[in-house]
Amino acid sequence: MKRKSISYAKWGYIFIAPFFIVFLVCTFYPLLSTFYNSLFENYWDASTFSQVGPNFVGLGNFKKLFTADAKGNVDILTYTANTMIMWIAGAIPQLAFSLLLAVIFTSTSLNVKGQTFFKTVIYLPNLIMAAAFAMLFFTLFSNVGPINQIISGGVSDKIVDFFNNVVTSRGIIAFINFLMWFGNTTIMLMAGIMGIDQSLLEAAAIDGATSGQVFRKITLPLLSPILVYVIITSLIGGFQMYDVPQVITSGLGNPNRSTMTLIMYLNRFLGTTKNYGMAGAVSVLVFIITGILSFGVYRSIVSGRSDPKPKKSKSKGVL
């Protein structure tokens, strides 16, 4: 007698179903509806107390976004640049600092004591709400705040108007993001480094490699999958930068809109007017830009570093 074979495959599908259901309802549907909304003129007109639209306008909203002003500037590109500048200014030191900390903490020769304590401490800033962090820094650096009291008390007779200066206001925002996220990145990178086979490092050391060489030739290449993950998540997070600059500048992106990020710009269309069409168009652009950049980062790191097989690669990596 032949027994029927039992397939457990359906259990696999059942177990992964919750994720797909949640994904479809909470991510995929809103995504499609954003695309759909971006094609309509649809807002609340306060002057007549009535809804305008939704009227189909095709790519009209996108056209409006890319219309240059009198001086030939396209605002949406300025805001994209603002977002990228503030992200990079926060992400590069964050990556460098986290990498350094991760190497120190995982180094067998240094054998740092009290690791759990330090890991907890560096992760703590991430537990504080970004808005609270932003308020704190706003108070610290305001014209009547403690930093300026110190400055006017001894260093100089004039106060420094931190939030009326492009470099300092962007710098403060980048610094807050750095402070909030370096702990998270450190822990990711530590996990990555600890996943590297110690015997490789020992072998290199026996062969006479300096610790710098070990880091550059062994640790970094083997760390690249984690690095890709860290950079891409940081990039996506960076492009969604909103709460810190929003709170610090009361949503105005001052000075002269130099700290206006894409999502803050999107938010300006919501509020009283509820301009879903324009806000949808900005969202779609953020989606496209983030998608392209993430893909770019992925390709450049994956094809440039951790592809041991000499496959004929069609595209040349950037790095």
């Binding site: 007549t48 107390f49 002003d69 001086k71 709400m129 108007d161 509020g271 007017t273 509820k274 301009n275």
Partner: protein, 494 residues
């Protein structure tokens, strides 16, 4: 130890969850309980069953016209705990953007028995209040009787948006009549463009120049109101004194935006013309010129009109001489000045200043579809016609009431004086200033009076040119006022 760790983990998880929810704190709903909640709920259910849709609402209106005359007759005793008819709802919903009126309401208004007052407060910043209010008003028809907005507050800048819309109702039909004792502009502001009265204001907001006596003494050689007024009676003189103040080591104003209202309230062209085009009056341009001059010369500070930097100038060691504000300003904005230790109580005086103007003002509007028309009328009458309540607003809250008889009474009372102003009878000054109010309101008023001037901060501090600031105005209008056409590229002075 293990237990300790577990507890610690639990605690931190709770703290995390707590902070996540803390962000939702914008919308505060507080309830004043005047009846046991259980009876209120039971009544509410019965009420909802009775008040079924529009048919019942029109019944209400019919019933109200008969009571209207009776109501206006005893308007003077409104707010003393009236007995409501059975058709009235048991929950009274009020939308507001701060606690100011709530304070007066809870102190002076006697809530009719069995009614629960529900305050929904959203901050005004960035138009949040209007956004939430518009959403709620749009859903008014579908809301259950006890969830319907009964009354909401609207500010001078944008009241026109609501008075001209169908979401506010004619209050003369429920027993609120325009009174001779109310200031005319408060009545016209609360009326639609065809003259239908939609609500009342509990205050009148002529605004004056509030100066620091000790600084005036140092700069002008006198602190007497009449003599100071003489030296600050127009903008040319004001600018000259600003230079003198600087020489003497003082600031003329505490914020670049301090003189905005005195200029902007004297505009002679509307912000938006009949065809929906944005236009800027010369008064606003004059303000931009003055503010730039003041910042460049160090006559003022670069913080906004609500900034901490400005508030600090009201303290004991403040250097700023001139503030502009109406009666609500003392309580609402001059907090630091009141402090016995670190403040400057008594060192102030009120005069008209270089230009007659008003600032703000809060109106109470009746929402269409309210299930509490009698109470709406009672609240409105209480804060305009009830002389007892109006008197308390003046004597206990330093307000300038919307009742000419009451205000005149205090103006004529030689023994009445304001402690903050060193005993000066400010009501007497406001009575004169109230005669010159030129009221204007436009649906996008909050954007025009807050966001548009805000675009010029960067110009004043020197980081952009005036033309760039005007370009930023265009951007703000694109974002916030999609239905108006605008082109500010030609407005820059250079």
């Amino acid at each position: 130890m293990k237990n300790f760790k577990r507890n610690l983990a639990l605690l931190s998880a709770l703290a995390l969850a707590g902070t996540m929810l803390a962000g939702c704190g914008d919308n505060t709903t507080t309830t004043t309980d005047d009846a046991a909640t259980t009876t209120a709920a039971a009544d509410a259910a019965a009420d909802a069953a009775a008040d079924n849709g529009d048919a019942a609402a029109s019944d209400d209106a019919a019933a109200d016209t008969t009571t209207a005359e009776a109501a206006s007759a005893d308007a003077a005793s409104a707010g003393t705990g009236i007995t409501l008819s059975d058709t009235e709802g048991k929950v009274f919903n009020i939308y507001a953007w701060n606690e100011e009126f709530k304070g007066f309401f809870e102190k002076y208004y006697t809530v009719p028995e069995g009614v629960t007052v529900n305050w929904v407060i959203n901050p005004s910043d960035g138009g949040v209040y209007q956004q939430k209010l518009d959403e709620a008003l749009s859903g008014q028809d579908a809301a259950a009787a006890d969830d319907k907005i009964d009354m909401f507050l609207a500010e001078a800048d944008y009241i026109a948006k609501y008075t001209n819309a169908a979401v506010t109702m004619d209050v003369t039909s429920i027993g609120v009549q325009p009174l001779d004792t109310e200031y005319d502009y408060t009545i016209s502001a609360a009326s639609s463009s065809d003259g239908t009265l939609k609500g009342v204001s509990f205050q009148c907001c002529p605004s004056g120049l509030i100066y620091r006596r000790s600084i005036a003494e140092a700069v002008l050689g006198t602190s007497d109101p009449a003599e100071v007024q003489e030296q600050l009676s127009d903008w040319t003189k004001f600018d000259e004194v600003a230079a003198k103040a600087k020489e003497a080591g003082y600031l003329m104003t505490p914020s670049y935006a301090e003189t905005y209202r005195p200029f902007a309230n004297n505009i002679t062209t509307d912000w938006v013309d009949a065809d929906g085009n944005f236009q800027v009056d010369d008064q606003v341009k004059a303000w931009i010129k003055q503010a730039k001059n003041y910042v460049d010369n160090g006559y003022t500070l670069t913080g906004g009109v609500w900034s901490d930097e400005k508030s600090a100038e009201m303290g004991k060691d403040g250097k700023a001489m001139c503030f502009f504000g109406p009666a609500w300003y003392y309580n609402f904005c001059m907090g630091p000045a009141w402090d016995e230790e670190t403040g400057s109580k008594g060192d102030w005086a009120l005069i008209e200043g270089p230009a007659a103007h008003f600032w703000g003002g809060t109106w109470l509007l009746a929402a269409t579809g309210t299930d509490n028309p009698e109470m709406v009328a009672d609240v409105m009458n209480a804060f305009t016609a009830n002389e007892d309540i109006c008197s308390k607003l003046v004597s206990e809250e330093n307000q300038f009431s919307n009742n000419t008889a009451v205000n005149q009474k205090f103006a004529d009372d030689a023994s009445y004086g304001n402690e903050l102003l060193g005993g000066q009878n400010d009501t007497a000054v406001f009575v004169e200033l109230a005669k010159n109010i030129k009221f204007r309101s436009t649906p996008y008023g909050q954007v025009f009076n807050e966001d548009v001037p805000g675009c010029f901060v960067d110009y004043f501090t020197g980081s952009i040119t005036e033309a760039e600031a005007w370009a930023n105005v265009d951007k703000v209008l694109d974002e916030k006022c999609p239905s108006i056409t605008h082109d500010c590229s030609g407005y820059a002075a250079e």
